[in-house]
Each structure stands twice: as structure tokens, then as C-alpha cells.
Amino acid sequence: MLQAQGLKKAYGKLVAVDGISFEVNKGETIGLLGPNGAGKTTTVSMIAGLLAPDAGQVLIDGKPVTGDTNPVKRKIGLVPQDLALYDELPALANLELFAALYDISGAKASKAIDAALELVGLRDRAKDKVATFSGGMKRRLNLAAALLHDPSVLLLDEPTVGVDPQSRNAIFDNLETLKSRGKTLVYTTHYMEEAERLCDRIVIVDHGRVVANDTLAGLYRRLPATNKLLIDLVDGSKLSDPSALKAVPGVQSAELIGNRLSVWLKDLSDGAPGVLAWLATGGHPFDHVSSEAPNLETVFLTLTGRSLRDS
């Protein structure tokens, strides 16, 4: 459906995108994940045909996205990172304009606008000026504006940025609906939870390069230690050498801070019983046991050595 091949873009000396390639299959949702300045927006802009790549190309259904009036662009719906709306006009007038950009007018436009407003739950506010909308409503309208020409690929550049949790949930529901309708989504974000919830596959970018491209499960498998067991000992001082735990099969490493013992295991179900037995028989009673599931944050940290959020 969508192929990005060796995309490169430099702003002067700054190389924003340095050879990014990935593919998205029909109906698939991929997450484009990366810290600020990773080159996500630049990549999306090149896919949408806003920016001409310095090198590489973008193919939609095998056809390159080049030229202003290329009909291939009709297959793409862009939800920009900024709220690209005319504040001084009513929501309806905004949507009528954006429909007209795709040569849609009259009854066809009304139908498309109705459907889009219905989806994002703004039908009753259609006649109000965008300036009177809340941030969340503007975000939803920003999404609706990209749906009017019924694109098969949706490029979403941080569609939930600066939105309260309720509106964010609403947008997520909208996106899940779109996904269920068979749309192909490219979802840009630096929120792990969002990518984990929505995406079939994650493309992690950093410094303009793809550092990982895999399903969630596949990414977790790359972690050197997939599982971490947390045990609160009754008296941590009695365990003088936690590294002795490595003798237990399946244990990769162990660390003791105060009374809390952290044990990294290759596999939780294989390793956990042995660790607990080792502690019980060795005279180290404990009063709380828990495990920490791997998440994208840890994946990112492991892959880039940087945290996603505050890099």
C-alpha cells in the first residue's frame, strides 16, 4: 500500500531524515515513534508530498507521489501536527473548503462532511466558529478534515498532542473505528501507550534513521532481559551477595537496593519459581512479589540509550 524508500532530507547542514525506509500494508496501522526532532514530521511531510525528498521516493500502490496535482494524492489524508483550520470560519465552512480542494462539492460534499462530523462527534457544532471550540474539539475537527475525500491511507502527525484524556480517548475511539473500516494508518507519536494500544507495528526513528521496525511482541523479544521480578525482602541486609542468584537457572542479573530485590529473567514462568524457592530455602523471607512488564519505553531506552519523552 505505502512504501517509503530511502527517504533523505536535509535542512542546510542539518540532516533531518537520513535514509528512512519502511512499508505499510493495506489495513495495517503502524506507529512512527521517536523523540522530538527525530524527523517524524519531516518523514510524514515527504510521504504526503509536501516536501520533495533529497533522495528516495514514496510509492502509494506502486505509484510515486510526485508533482502538485498527482491524483495519487487523493489516496492520502493528512492530519497535520498543527491545527490547520480557519478559526474565523464555522466548522462547516472549513470542511466545505477542504472538500472542495479534492473537487468534492454539492450533495457529495454534504454527505462526506456529515459522515466525518458524525464520526468525530461534532455534528451539533457544525455551524459554530472554530474559534469557539475547545482544544480537543479542534483536534477532532482537524481529524475530520482529512477524511472528507475518503482516503485509504491516513497520515496522523501527533493527533492527540495537547489534548485532555477524555478527548484523547474520543480520538482513539475514532481511530479504532477507522482502523476497523480497513483504513491504513500511519500514526506519529511519542506517547508509548498510544502506540501500544493502536499499532500493529512500530517503526522507531531516531536522528533521522529507523532504529527498529517490528511488531510489539517482536520488539519486546529484542530486550536482553524481557522480564523483571521485584521482591520485597523482610530484611535485605541478610542477603550479602545478590549476584549469587545467577546460579539459579534463567536468571540474568540481580540487584538489591534496600529491601527491594530486582531480578531479570529470560522468561518469567520458567525462572520465577526457582528464584522464589532459592530465597525461601536460603532464609530470606519476603512479603511482596511483583513483576514489571516490558514496554516501549524500555525498548526505546535499550535501542537508543535515550528516553523517549525527555531527550
Binding site: L50, D68, A93
Partner: protein, 426 residues
């Protein structure tokens, strides 16, 4: 086409949504145009056709001074007031009157004598306000003519003249006959002529020298019989100024659209850049023409400003100026980096352009070199075109050059704008 029309409609809608823009574009030119029109002579047009006040201090109060006074009074362009020397000086100094004339005692006698003999000539003192040089020169010219007529008439037919001729004849007795003969002959003839007119009262005709021509004045402003209407110029000038401001808003608005990310939507649609730019040019041109129509409709209804010249010519000038303005707006959008940075500079450029166009001070008052140099200023052509089609009452062929110049500027600006436009969104 759907997209093009929708974009044009959007621009026009946003323009009318913005109260500040509407006031700036329609109300401001009407208010300021009315003010300038009033100040530049609109006020005096109906009641008092611009009379110049002249103070006269008549220290002679004789036949000659009275004759001069009555001639001045008869002149429709002057408002003559009698005054005393002190008052007159005071009033001129304060700027209440541009000029005061003092006719000294014995003026008639001394002047008549001075005509035939080289005797000392009496002085007419003129006091003038330095800020009204033009009026003063005009009055001095008139005064010369009137004095000449009054004094010569007195010399040839009045009592003073007879006495002077007799007196001059007596004086010639002492001069050798050979030298004095021609003048003596002339004076004797004059004396006889005087006696005959004296005895023949009924047939008496006004004698004396008079200015050997009459001035017939007609203002070639428009078709015969129509008057110059200063509101025509002031409304045209202010419409030009505020339409150019609207052009700035067009450019700034495009920069704001880019900042807001709207260009991303446009660029992601299968839309040519040409459609994007030309739709903005068309909407700006339409708005400019609408402003001109409203402003001149107001001027017509309230101040009787008429399109004395060609109406098609007028519409063509309006369209040409609208096009030039929209290209100017696109140029601002192309060259401006941020909306904020573009605003300050373009306002300065616009004010300079308006000033040089003659919108504030008509360009015919500019020094010669400036009149030629300002032909490089696009708004000057709009001003000339509007003046030509309104109060000058020129035919459509006189609109061809201004319209061609405006279209040429529009093409130049438009080309630079397209060439320098940063299409890529950020």
C-alpha cells in the same frame, strides 16, 4: 475549478468576517477622504468660491484711490476689506489675511505727475504673509493693472490731470524750444483734448490707458461647465492607500496560513500552486474593486463626485489597481519570513508608495524631477488613472497607459512572488 472558487469564496468570507479589516478598508478611506476633500477646498466650493481676502488702507481717499478700490472690489476672486494701517499689519502678521495694500496720501496727484515727468514716484506699500506667496503675487499683478488704468484715466481726463498738464507746460517754458518742442506739442494737444471733453459733458467717454487685453478663464478640469471637485482626488487617494493596506493583509494572511499549517492541507491535496496563488490574486482584486466601488459611490452620493470621464476606463483602472495590489500582497508573502517581520517593513513601504503616488499631495505640486521619478511608483499610475477618469473627465484612451502600467507592475511583482515563494511548508 471547484477548488479555485472555494478558495476565492473563503478569502472573501474571511475578509468580511474581520471587523477590523472591513473598517480599515471601507470606513477609513471615506472618513479621511472626506476630511482631505474638505480641507483642500471642498468646503468653499458652494458658498464662497475661494475668495482671497485683501485689506486696503486708503490714506488718500481721493478719486484715484477710490477708482482702484472699486476695481478691486469688483474682482470676484477677491474679498476687499477696508482697514487701518495698524489693523492691517496685525491681521497679516497673524495670518488672518494674506495681503494688505496701503495707498499713501496724495497718491493720485503724485502718480499722475510721475507719469509725464521723471518725478519721484509714490510708493504703494504691500504687506504680505510669507506663507501665501501665490496669492500675494496674484494680487500684486492685479493691482498694477488697476493702478495703471485709474491713474492714466485721471491724467487724460480728470481734474488732477488737467492741472498736471498745465503745470508741465509751464515748466517747459524754461527749457530751450528745440528740445521741448515735441513734448510741448503733445501736452498742448492733450490740454486741448481735456478742454473739449470738459465742455462736452454729455459726450464724455472714459479716457485713459487700459490693459490692452482681457483674460478669459475656464478651468479645463473636465467637460465644459463641470467644476473641479477636490473630493474626487481625496477619495481616490485614500481608497488607494487603504486598498494597499488590504494588500499587506493578504500577504501577512498567507504567511499566517503557512504558520498555522493550512498550507500543509493545501499542499497535500491534488492542487496546483498556481491555483493557490491565482485564487488569492483574484479574491484580493475583487475586494479591491469592491472597496473602490463603495468609496466612490459614497463620494458620489454625499459629495457629488462623478465619473466625468470614461466609465469603462474607470473600471479598467480599478481592476488594474486591484490586480497590482494583489500581486503586491503575494510579493509580501513571498519575501516575508514571518508575519511579524513582514508587517513593519511592508507598512513603511506602502506609506512611501502612497506618498509618492500623489494621494496625499497631488503629484502636480511635486517638483518636475519628482513628477517624472514617481512614474516608477505603481500607485502613482492608479492615482493618475483615477484622477483622469473622475474629475479630469478624460476618455477611455487616457486610461490605457495607466492600466498598462499597473498590469505591468502586477506581472513584475507576481513573477518575483512566484519565483521567490517558499512552497515548502515548515
Amino acid at each position: 475549478m471547484t477548488a479555485f472558487l472555494a478558495l476565492v469564496r473563503k478569502d472573501i468570507r474571511i475578509f468580511f468576517q474581520d471587523r477590523r479589516a472591513v473598517i480599515m478598508s471601507f470606513v477609513a478611506p471615506i472618513l479621511i477622504g472626506s476630511f482631505f476633500g474638505y480641507v483642500f477646498g471642498g468646503a468653499s466650493r458652494s458658498s464662497d468660491p475661494g475668495r482671497v481676502t485683501v485689506l486696503v488702507v486708503d490714506q488718500e481717499a481721493g478719486a484715484v484711490s477710490k477708482a482702484i478700490l472699486s476695481k478691486l472690489t469688483a474682482n470676484k476672486t477677491l474679498a476687499v476689506q477696508n482697514s487701518t494701517l495698524e489693523d492691517a499689519k496685525q491681521l497679516v502678521r497673524k495670518g488672518k489675511a494674506p495681503v494688505a495694500i496701503v495707498i499713501p496720501p496724495n497718491f493720485g496727484k503724485l502718480a499722475t505727475q510721475a507719469m509725464f515727468s521723471g518725478r519721484e514716484r509714490p510708493k504703494v506699500q504691500v504687506y504680505l504673509d510669507p506663507s501665501h506667496q501665490m496669492e500675494s503675487s496674484m494680487i500684486e499683478g492685479m493691482l498694477t493693472g488697476y493702478v495703471m488704468e485709474a491713474v492714466s484715466k485721471e491724467a487724460f481726463s480728470g481734474d488732477l490731470g488737467r492741472a498736471t498738464v498745465d503745470d508741465s507746460l509751464k515748466q517747459l517754458e524754461s527749457v530751450p524750444a528745440q528740445e521741448s518742442a515735441p513734448l510741448k506739442g503733445f501736452l498742448q494737444a492733450l490740454s486741448r483734448y481735456n478742454q473739449s471733453t470738459q465742455s462736452n459733458q454729455t459726450n464724455r467717454r472714459d479716457a485713459g490707458l487700459s490693459v490692452p487685453f482681457e483674460l478669459s478663464e475656464e478651468k479645463l478640469t473636465s467637460r465644459q461647465g463641470t467644476e473641479y471637485n477636490p473630493y474626487a482626488h481625496s477619495f481616490g487617494g485614500m481608497a488607494i492607500q487603504f486598498i494597499l493596506f488590504m494588500g499587506i493583509d493578504v500577504g501577512i494572511g498567507m504567511l499566517l496560513d503557512r504558520q498555522r499549517g493550512l498550507w500543509k492541507r493545501f499542499a497535500s491535496a491534488p492542487l496546483s500552486k498556481w491555483t493557490l496563488l491565482s485564487s488569492r490574486a483574484v479574491s484580493a482584486t475583487l475586494i479591491a474593486m469592491l472597496i473602490l466601488a463603495v468609496v466612490f459611490a459614497f463620494a458620489r452620493i454625499v459629495f457629488g463626485v462623478k465619473i466625468e470621464g470614461s466609465l469603462p476606463g474607470f473600471i479598467a483602472v480599478c481592476a488594474g489597481f486591484g490586480l497590482m495590489t494583489s500581486a503586491y500582497g503575494l510579493l509580501i508573502a513571498a519575501l516575508g519570513k514571518t508575519p511579524q517581520a513582514a508587517r513593519g517593513l511592508s507598512i513603511l513601504a506602502t506609506l512611501l508608495m502612497v506618498m509618492l503616488s500623489g494621494a496625499w499631495i497631488p503629484s502636480f505640486l511635486f517638483p518636475g524631477w519628482l513628477q517624472s521619478a514617481t512614474k516608477l511608483v505603481p500607485a502613482r499610475w492608479a492615482m493618475d488613472g483615477l484622477d483622469g477618469m473622475t474629475w479630469r473627465g478624460l476618455g477611455w484612451h487616457e486610461a490605457v497607459l495607466p492600466v498598462a502600467a499597473l498590469v505591468a507592475f502586477a506581472l513584475i511583482f507576481g513573477t518575483i512572488a512566484v519565483w521567490r515563494f517558499r512552497w515548502e511548508t515548515e
